[in-house]
Symmetry: C2
Subunit: 470 residues, 2 copies
């Protein structure tokens, strides 16, 4: 852990314990530096991180204050405690039953898996699309076949390099979105009956992929702020003949957790030691609220064992269906699986993104996107803290657009979902995020849509319904 | 069989037997009508069909003549005779080794699976794309999620209706190309270890899908002109616990065969009797050279048991990755599999096609496309007949863009492929089209690219290499 992170955690501890309270002013950078004998850069780093976590807020020309919503941070859910044995998975049916309302615009999409479409430069992309296709010679139609458009793959490799991660253009395979990348990775390294490690709770899409391929899942204890528990991961790797490990280190779905860098290194070392391929689901990496982009576990890959999957769907171009995998030693296998199952990602989409990324504007768009999401998070978390029953706990994500909410025990989230849907509000019940449908009093709330009066009224209604279910 | 088909077959018999020879003039419509007591419409129908088969040609203001290339029709390959037992499949590795040259523009693509990109209105599509995306409201991003864009699905249903096939919009699921549709259909109705019936020879993509899903294949005897052998199909259905049957009734890949209508009805009846789902690969249906579009087997579906898969990739928009399945009773399962594996087809592609189809122009484009392909077929088949060793047999496809060529026995097609590739010519060796790599002296030749001097020189070279391998 870096010095500024230690200092930030110390302050967070004071807030959690109630020693620092909402509205309290923090020491100035100079004061803190002098009293603690730390550099101004360290203090700034810590304050920046705390601000990203939503615990403190800067007021112009006045300094940093504990934020009004920080009180919720006192009550985050605990580390999960899943069963230790492996299980066949049967969750898809429930997922589809519950999440069927996604296309209904009269429903407030707190249960949605997608961010608000208002966040993206759709007109700008349409222009890139038109420009990319206008210039296309017919003979070039085959050029975008797997591994994918060369210009686009170079752009993707360049972005890795910019963030200090060494990924060769050669190991990048363009896919029809990250979901395909993840599914193909899983297929590439497993046979029916094999065991796969996942977090607990975990993205239901991972469970559905495991179910579809007739695999078995082992869930591993996971902390809602720092991600998978290292000791539990090590134990699971010793106990089971694991063929793959599917993790989301950045802004995990549904937790919003962010794995500390030393944990990433430890996970990388463990998987390398056991020679277990990693399937790294990193679709929210660009949506960080902190000072810098978190590194993927892939950054610590020594043997080409880690497959890093991402896409442009959450950061730039929803619906274009362009994702990729940096597949290490599995690149050829991935390319062939892609060819066999869906042939190639759509050429217009590949051309549009190659064209867009060749021009400037992506970084500016991302900065705006992150600011907007961070602000929506604050608004939504504050509303939950205000309207949900006493005893509610929740995470405080430092990126992404999901918050994991633990309701007081005894409140059934599936019932909450049903009653909410009658009032045209969706919410994702915790049941969807584990093999054995635990997390029965948890919900995942999406704060990626406009935090407007309609959304806030919906949160208030959810709180009322929850209270009525105690 | 209809009257005009009977009359056409009679004339074809005369040509095959040598009684009618290239350059011979056929009786005029009036002569034939009078002497045979058949209506002018019947004669016209027969001549149209024979012209589509490439056996006769009209000369303006002169009448119909036996075509110069008709001689090759004397020597079509025989019905295949595959093994009767089921087998696990291991073919993917070979397919990828052999077909790796697809992106190399210095290679003459006689082995390609794709039609020439020059055949398609790419500029016109780019304009539809720009128009479709310019008008897109952000909130509509979720509308194109499975089962897919509503306007596009209605257009697809309308095209079925136009051809007299009853398909409800509700059973249509849009996919990322037909290959995805086919793979999802197979997954929808099988579990690892299940038995699937295919033609012999069959499209290697079907074999790869069977291999990927850990299924077993049973190959059924197939005639190179009329498709799967009915008695063999009936026997295989009795002998094996079949879970699905994957067929291409129209311009089969690699044969180019076209199943007669009464055979389609018989296949439908057999599958219905055994309650075996059909996976109908119908991607070449629009590429017919005859008087009318052949019906799919799906047209005879009584119980929602038949899944009809097609796409716009071969008829309009290569690379856009928009296909579909009319999935009958399996529609919901297909929709869910699509959601789980690749989420949705690319929105820009769906919008572009919905926009394009809403305007006129598709039919005109298709007529031009069919004429061009029929002309390329004639040129390429004539060149093969001229340059390949004596004893070569081949089919005379009435649509699509593949011809199946049987070389004299003893010529190894894999060796031919290797030597040809050294001369920058690709060809698809018969080895790829069966489980046990039979068809070792067959090749599939693609006539969908411009039949220019380069292509003709390549065919001449192929013939010379083949001769050298006797």
């Amino acid at each position: 852990m870096k010095r500024y992170e230690r200092y930030a955690n110390e302050i967070a501890g004071l807030i959690e314990s109630g020693a620092l309270r909402p509205g309290d002013r923090l020491p100035s950078v100079r004061q803190a530096g002098t009293s603690r004998r730390i550099s101004p850069a360290t203090v700034f780093g810590a304050y920046y991180l705390l601000e990203a976590r939503g615990l403190i807020r800067a007021r112009p020309r006045s300094g940093y204050y504990v934020s009004e919503t920080a009180v919720a941070a006192r009550s985050e859910p605990r580390t999960s405690a899943p069963k230790k044995r492996s299980s066949a998975v049967e969750i898809s049916e429930l997922v589809f039953q519950v999440l069927g309302s996604v296309k209904d615009r009269t429903v407030v999409p707190l249960g949605s898996a997608f961010p608000g479409a208002d966040l993206f430069p759709l007109d700008r992309l349409a222009r890139s699309l038109a420009a990319g296709m206008r210039k296309l010679e017919p003979a070039r139609i085959v050029d975008d076949l797997p591994p994918g458009n060369e210009r686009l793959r170079r752009q993707i490799a360049l972005r890795y390099a910019t963030h200090g991660v060494r990924v060769a253009t050669d190991e990048i395979v363009v896919t029809s979105g990250a979901l395909e990348a993840l599914n193909l990775c899983l297929q590439a390294v497993t046979r029916p009956g094999d065991v796969v490690l996942v977090e607990s709770p975990t993205f239901y899409g991972a469970l559905q992929a495991i179910e579809r391929l007739n695999l078995k899942a082992v869930e591993v204890a996971t902390h809602p702020r720092t991600g998978i528990d290292l000791a539990s991961l090590a134990a699971a790797l010793r106990r089971h003949p694991v063929k793959a490990c599917w993790l989301m280190p950045n802004f995990q779905n549904p937790l919003g957790s962010l794995m500390p860098e030393e944990n990433r290194q430890a996970v990388a070392a463990l998987l390398t030691e056991h020679d277990v391929p990693l399937i790294e689901d990193d679709v929210y990496a660009e949506l960080y609220f902190g000072a810098q982009r978190p590194q993927p576990i892939k950054a610590f890959d020594r043997n080409g064992l880690f497959m890093h999957c991402s896409s442009f769907s959450k950061s730039l171009a929803p619906g274009y269906r362009v994702g990729w995998v940096a597949a290490g030693r599995f690149a050829q296998r991935l390319e062939r699986l892609k060819l066999m199952t869906t042939l190639s990602a759509a050429i217009p989409s590949q051309q549009a993104l190659a064209q867009y990324l060749d021009q400037s504007g992506y970084e500016r768009h991302l900065r705006q996107l992150r600011r907007t999401l961070a602000s929506r998070r604050d608004t939504v978390l504050q509303a939950i803290a205000k309207h949900f029953p006493a005893g509610t706990r929740m995470t405080r994500p430092e990126g992404g657009y999901f918050v994991w909410v633990e309701l007081p025990e005894g409140i059934d989230a599936l019932r909450l979902h049903e009653l909410a849907l009658e009032r045209r509000i969706s919410v994702a019940p915790g049941h969807l995020f584990s093999v054995d449908r635990r997390f029965t009093h948890f919900v995942r709330v999406n704060y990626g849509h406009p935090a407007d009066a309609r959304a806030l009224a919906a949160i208030k209604s959810l709180g009322q319904i929850a209270a009525s279910l105690r």
